[in-house]
């Protein structure tokens, strides 16, 4: 459903993305891994035009998205995004956060929006926190509200930009669990992550990004167990995957 064709992005003289071609099928979960500075977040942010690409095309449902506000907004209604720093609206309660897009963007009535918002807050297990402001919630709870807020827009796909990187280790599990449920429900997801266990166990396809290029891409089993690319081998050994599965899988 999402196709990235020949994507380049530079900031002045620095080339961050150097020709990315990637297809995300309907219902597919794609994990993007790689060292910091390899362009993972930029790639994700180019998909929904939070970052303006320098060259290349973003194609959604077979249609090239033109660089104008109307097409960009339509694309954003289809493809939601979850951020590393949650970015819940500080001036709204959890419920209002989740309702905001339904009321403002989709123009549904407040009553309908509230019903939907409660449904999705229940889905992420936070129905008891509806009236809390973000400042009163833990990082994990904030991220779950943020996921509910994105889901409430009923998108066709969700982009996750390092959704657990800002969380205390003991809170990572609750967010990954929600994401795993979502993957099992058949949601199309592109996940930039440092959680190798998640990438290995949940995704259909893993993309290893290095220096703004896709260095290796494939099924998680192949990528993690039989890496071909030298940098990927190096990266995986540094991620120290060996001692993580037991610890992390407890939460997932």
């Amino acid at each position: 459903m999402i196709e990235i064709r020949g994507l380049y992005k530079n900031y002045n003289d620095t080339e961050v993305l150097r020709g990315i071609d990637l297809t995300v099928e309907d219902g597919e979960v794609v994990s993007v891994i790689g060292p910091s500075g390899s362009g993972k977040s930029t790639l994700l942010r180019c998909i929904n035009f939070l970052e303006r690409k320098s060259k290349g095309d973003i194609v959604v449902d077979g249609k090239v998205i033109e660089n104008n506000p109307l097409e960009i907004n339509n694309l954003r209604k289809k493809i939601g995004m979850v951020f590393q720093s949650f970015n819940l609206f500080a001036n709204m309660t959890a419920l209002k956060n989740v309702m905001s897009g339904i009321v403002t963007v989709k123009k549904e009535t407040k009553a309908a929006a509230e019903k939907k918002a409660r449904f999705y807050l229940d889905k992420v297990g936070l129905l008891d926190k509806v009236d809390e402001y973000p400042a009163m919630l833990s990082g994990g709870q904030q991220q779950r509200v943020a996921i509910a807020r994105t889901l409430a827009m009923e998108p066709e796909a969700v982009l996750f930009d390092e959704p657990t990187s800002a969380l205390d280790p003991e809170l990572v599990g609750e967010v990954l669990a929600v994401m795993k449920d979502l993957a099992n429900d058949g949601m199309t997801m592109v996940v930039v992550t440092h959680e190798m266990t998640f990438a290995r166990d949940v995704s259909d396809k893993v993309v290893f990004l290095s220096d703004g290029k896709i260095a290796e891409m494939g099924a998680p089993g192949d990528l993690f167990n039989r890496p071909k690319n030298g940098r990927l081998k190096n990266f995986l050994s540094r991620m120290d995957l060996a001692d993580k599965p037991e610890k992390r899988s407890a939460g997932v």
Binding site: N73, N74, M81, L88, G101, V105, R149
Partner: protein
């Protein structure tokens, strides 16, 4: 000793006798202040919206307006509107001149207060709203401005107090507000000190009430913050 007591007594006699006579002018001062605060706030908001459009002409209009207002004295601005505009065929009555002058004046400063408060909002708030498909304006209205306004309240309060006091300058364009009346009464009675004491008390009263209201507003807007014992 006796003379001192008699002096104090006569001072307060004049203060109390003249206090009620100020009331109509207090009302005018209040009207000037309320109009200039409300219209000034709207003005400040419009300036920020113009700048947000990123359309060259509109941004330039906003910048020039702020530069002129901040670069010239309020006294001169009021003179210009009241005495200058009629010379090019635009005649407006003195009260309207004062309201327009004070509102434009406050608007320029309030726009800068809003600008600072808007810039202080984390970029992520904006990004999250835009990523949901909100337009620039929807994002501003529902996410950025409510937070910016809350942060702006202390500085806005400062400007609002200034607005009350600056309304006294309207006395030079023949408006019968508090300061005009004080000058009239003082000239008629030669009791300069007690008469101006009255005026000072009224200004204190107005600013005190406003300061308290702003304080209450600030507390009410703090509901979304984590409570601390510090």
């Amino acid at each position: 000793m006796y003379e001192t007591i008699a002096g104090i007594k006569s001072f307060f006699m004049i203060v109390f006798n003249y206090a009620p006579m100020f009331l109509p002018s207090v009302w005018i001062t209040l009207e000037l202040s309320i109009f200039s605060i409300l219209l000034g706030t709207i003005c400040g908001l419009i300036v920020n919206l113009l700048k947000m459009t990123k359309i060259g002409v509109l941004v330039a209009v906003a910048d020039i307006y702020v530069a002129i207002i901040r670069g010239t004295p309020l006294l001169l601005q009021l003179f210009f509107i009241f005495y200058g505009l009629p010379q090019i065929g635009i005649t407006i009555d003195s009260f309207l001149s004062a309201v327009v002058g004070l509102a434009l004046h406050n608007g320029a400063y309030i726009s800068e207060i809003f600008r600072g408060a808007i810039q202080a909002i984390d970029r992520g708030q904006n990004e999250a709203a835009r990523a949901m498909g909100m337009t620039k304006f929807q994002t501003f209205r529902t996410v950025v401005f409510p937070q910016a306004f809350k942060n702006a309240v202390p500085a806005l309060g400062n400007q609002f107090l200034l607005a009350i006091k600056d309304s006294s300058l309207a006395s030079i364009i023949t408006i019968a507000e508090l300061m005009t009346k004080a000058r009239e009464f003082a000239a008629a009675t030669y009791s300069v000190f007690p008469i101006y004491f009255d005026a000072a008390c009224y200004y204190m009263l107005l600013t005190f009430v406003l300061a308290r209201l702003l304080n209450m507003l600030e507390k009410r807007l703090r509901v979304n913050e984590r409570k601390t014992s510090l």
